[in-house]
């Protein structure tokens, strides 16, 4: 017996033990009594007050949109930025409960801001009525509209205006196709489950390609609000994590110069560095208004854009295919020289006409060019010379060398929807394939079935400039963030080599110099103090007839300086007319901006 009996205490040990247990049990009972008393007080006496408190107790969870990453040009100048913008949102939970007064609120809002009433109803119908999460109905609200909503706040329960970062662009149509527009996730994207409703997603161009990097991670705020929905305080906050920075290969100055030079024309410009494949500028006109496209655009405006006969959404630099016209003579010349079928010394007498099997093929110059050698034929773009040269080289060799220059194959540029172009194939007759001479003659001057894209031409011209290296066009140098360094980078990639003898390259470059500087078709691209080389092209459009001569597509593909090329500029003007008259002056403006305005700018800035 440990807790043994002590004199004067309980009669037996067991009894004493029980008494002590009773003492402990009594203490516990007392505890229970106190707890039950407190519950009686809280739940029965004060219950009504606490019920009120729980009804008033609301916490609104507000997502805080992460600013999208910023895209920079090669010199660190921003191409797009973010600015704060007003977003109009509805909070389903705080709209009136009964349908009639809820519709009244939506109707009032629609009338106030001139919004389509159905869109507001749809937006609310898509989410559960219990949701605290704001549903965005309009982004980029004007200051005026914002003020109206604030003014009528008490009549508009469940309607809020928030400030969110939104894309801002240097100008309304700046690099629209290249950058791409950012809009709310589509129903299709929501179904794929990668995005939440209201997420801003890059829908085209680089914004789409790099969306994962650019989007960042949204933060959130738990906000306590009172019965009127007015925020009382922030209970808890998670900071948004901004998107990563993207350093592109573009040069904003050149891009702007190229866009300016194309003003009022439909077509495309590609500016490439032949030393590494960097795309310095890429323009497609007409462009869409990228700033109006970001955020919410009403259906009408969208339909207008999609159905526009000028196709402003199309990136003509990579998605439109044209006959190369006389640009292709460079390929024929290269093939003939390398295969030993042509020499620089061969001469042809051009009378302006060429007869083949009863058909007459004409030169663009009616009276002909007289006696021309290869250099002169390229410089003046003599068709008669290349009709004969084409027949001597043969369809197979021409097609093979066209492919070697990367035509008829995608360049692999990091933008979606690139078109492939087309190199014709021999016709198959009775199991044997053969090139009808008429096809070969047409192909030799870049007409017929041949199709190329401006970016393919840029890469091909870069190969001429750099001695045969075919680059994969590079648009993005790296993706980085201040806190984590470089996340992704593209060191540039050589896609292939065009193997021509050094003497052949020399002849080609010399001839292309002559195009601009020695009585050639590209004289309009001549710039004093800069050696420009290039080739003009005029692509007959499919349905053209003699009467519609002015509707040809005008090409000019140039590189400069001719001896040590730093840039390739390709200009295409749809239905512009002759390459030398329309495209070459545009190329000159761009080249001028690249080589001289830069110097001027440097001088001004010291």
């Amino acid at each position: 017996m440990i807790a043994g009996p002590r004199p004067g205490r309980g009669p037996t040990g067991a009894d004493a033990g029980r008494r002590r247990i009773t003492a402990v049990a009594a203490a516990v009972t007392l505890g229970f009594a106190v707890v039950i008393g407190q519950l009686w007080y809280l739940q029965v006496l004060e219950g009504g007050r606490f019920l009120d408190a729980s009804d008033r107790n609301r916490i609104r969870i507000r997502p805080v949109a992460a600013p999208r990453g910023i895209l920079y040009d090669r010199h660190g100048v921003p191409l797009v930025d973010n600015r704060p913008a007003f977003t109009l949102s509805l909070i389903p939970r705080e709209l009136p409960r009964d349908p009639a007064s809820r519709d009244a609120v939506l109707g009032r809002l629609a009338a106030l801001l001139r919004l389509p009433y159905e869109e507001l109803v749809d937006a609310v119908a898509r989410v559960p009525a219990e949701s605290f999460l704001p549903v965005r109905v309009r982004r980029g609200l004007s200051l005026e509209d914002m003020a109206k909503v604030e003014e009528w706040k008490l009549e508009l329960p469940g309607v809020i205006v928030e400030v969110e970062p939104q894309r801002s662009y240097p100008s309304s149509r700046f690099a629209a196709h290249l950058l791409g527009y950012v809009r709310e996730a589509t129903e299709e994207q929501l179904r794929q489950g990668r995005y939440r409703r209201g997420d801003m997603v890059g829908q085209s161009g680089l914004e789409r390609l790099l969306d994962e990097f650019l989007r960042g991670r949204d933060g959130g705020q738990q906000i306590e609000v009172d019965a009127l929905g007015r925020p009382v305080r922030v209970v808890q906050q998670t900071e948004p994590y901004p998107g990563a920075e993207v350093v592109t290969t573009l040069d904003r100055r050149i891009q702007e110069a190229a866009e300016q030079a194309m003003e009022g024309r439909a077509g495309a410009v590609v500016v490439m560095d032949p030393r590494n494949g960097d795309i310095l500028a890429m323009v497609s006109t007409p462009a869409f208004e990228i700033d109006r496209f970001t955020g919410t655009i009403d259906r009408e405006a969208w339909l207008r854009l999609v159905q526009d006969p000028d196709h402003p959404l199309l990136n003509r630099a990579i998605q439109s295919q044209y006959a190369p016209g006389s640009l292709f003579k460079v390929v024929v010349a290269a093939a003939g020289l390398q295969e030993g079928v042509l020499t620089p010394m061969d001469r042809v007498h051009c009378t302006g006409e060429f007869h083949l099997g009863g058909r007459t093929f004409r030169d663009w110059k009616e009276e002909g060019h007289g006696t021309v050698d290869l250099r002169r034929a390229l410089a003046q773009s003599c068709n008669i010379y290349f009709y004969q040269a084409g027949l001597r080289v043969g369809g197979d060799a021409i097609a093979r060398w066209a492919r070697a220059f990367g035509l008829g194959a995608p360049t692999g540029i990091d933008l979606g929807g690139e078109k492939v172009g087309l190199i014709p194939r021999p016709r198959v007759r009775r199991g044997r394939s053969a090139w009808p001479p008429g096809d070969v003659v047409n192909m030799a001057i870049g007409q017929g079935q041949l199709l190329v894209t401006p970016v393919q031409v840029a890469r091909f011209m870069a190969a001429v400039a750099n001695g045969g290296v075919l680059w994969k066009p590079r648009l993005v140098q790296r993706v980085q963030r201040a806190d984590r360094g470089v996340l992704w980078s593209d060191a540039g990639r050589v896609a292939g080599h065009v193997e021509l003898a050094p003497a052949v390259w020399a002849v080609l470059r010399e001839s292309l110099w002559a195009v601009v500087n020695d009585g050639g078709t590209g004289a309009a691209a001549r710039i004093p103090g800069l050696e420009v080389a290039g080739k003009t092209g005029t692509a007959q459009t499919v349905a053209n007839s003699r009467a519609e001569r002015g509707e040809d597509h005008a090409w000019f593909a140039a590189f400069a300086p001719a001896r040590d090329p730093e840039v390739v500029v390709v200009v295409l003007v749809e239905r512009g007319g002759k390459g030398g008259q329309v495209a070459a002056p545009i190329a000159r403006k761009i080249l001028n901006a690249i080589f001289f305005e830069r110097v001027a700018a440097l001088e001004v800035h010291g």
Binding site: A3, G4, I21, A25, F32, L51
Partner: protein, 363 residues
Amino acid sequence: MIGIDRRLVQNVDWTLLGTALAIVLASATTLASLQVARAGGGVALRQLAWAGIGLLALALVASVDYRRVVRAAPLLYALGLGGLLVVLALGRTVSGARRWVLLGPLSVQPAEFFKLAFLLTVVWLLTTRWAQPPGAAVVGLLLLVTGVPFGLIVRQPDLGTALMLLPVLAALLVGAGVRWRYLAGLGAVGLGALPLAWLALRDYQRERILVYLDPFRDPLGSAYNVIQAKIAIGSGQLLGKGVAGATQSRLAFLPERHTDFIFAVFAEMWGFVGCLLLLAGYALLLLRGFDIAAAARDPVGRLVALGATTLLAAQVLTNVGMVTGLLPVVGVPLPLMSYGGSSMLVSMLTLGLLLSVRMRQFQ
């Protein structure tokens, strides 16, 4: 020794077991209504799984003679103390506290298990032959045995679990018939140590105590939990709001709503009547515990049962007290209700000790 003696099986206390299982079911339904998602299935199912494992452990402990368990107490105590040291050295930190040790896929809270080792050790000290009658030497030894782990657990910091050691010690001293003046002396030492304890507390612990003393000291900061819990409980009123209407709980205004504050969730859903029923369940459990202690065949059994019952009672009263705003928030789970494997397992082991004593009361 399992199942050899038929009287052992006949004396299983089915009321005790049945009541415990009813509380576990109340826990699972409450958790299910909260729909708190956790990796690897719903919290409710995991809670039931832990209860199942707990029942196995309970059967194991009940089948062993409690006297053998008490004899092993010093070893368990050493193991437990080792566990506490391991936690301090390389425990996992969750929201600022080092309470968990990873054992394979499980994270274990050694302090939870230490409570039982402590209980058995105190019983062992009070009942060894050289200890009778418990005099000044034993009381001094007990101070040491209590003080060291108390300090270690407070350091984690887990003030709640550490505090649970004190009522157990007090009840065992009373139950063992320690002279009142020793008890009074111990009480005086405890009071004298309060200022020291204040210095040892972490900032957030002090803040909680200050908030308890003055709830409107910071109504939107650290008093937030207490106020939200009070609103939840109070708004349940007499009959509760039911599962669907329990906005406080379901809309996540309540912090820790599936663990320490689960009583507030239950109170919001089922009101005063529901709370009375739940507390009646606990009261029944505790009454059986005191009954087992009173009917025990020997002093060892009596003290083991008394200690186990007191441990459960202290946790129930502290948890409900802190959730209803009667006590500072010290972080004590509600036995059998709060979600958590360690807590469930230890509650079941405690019940196992009670059963072990009950089954052998006529031997």
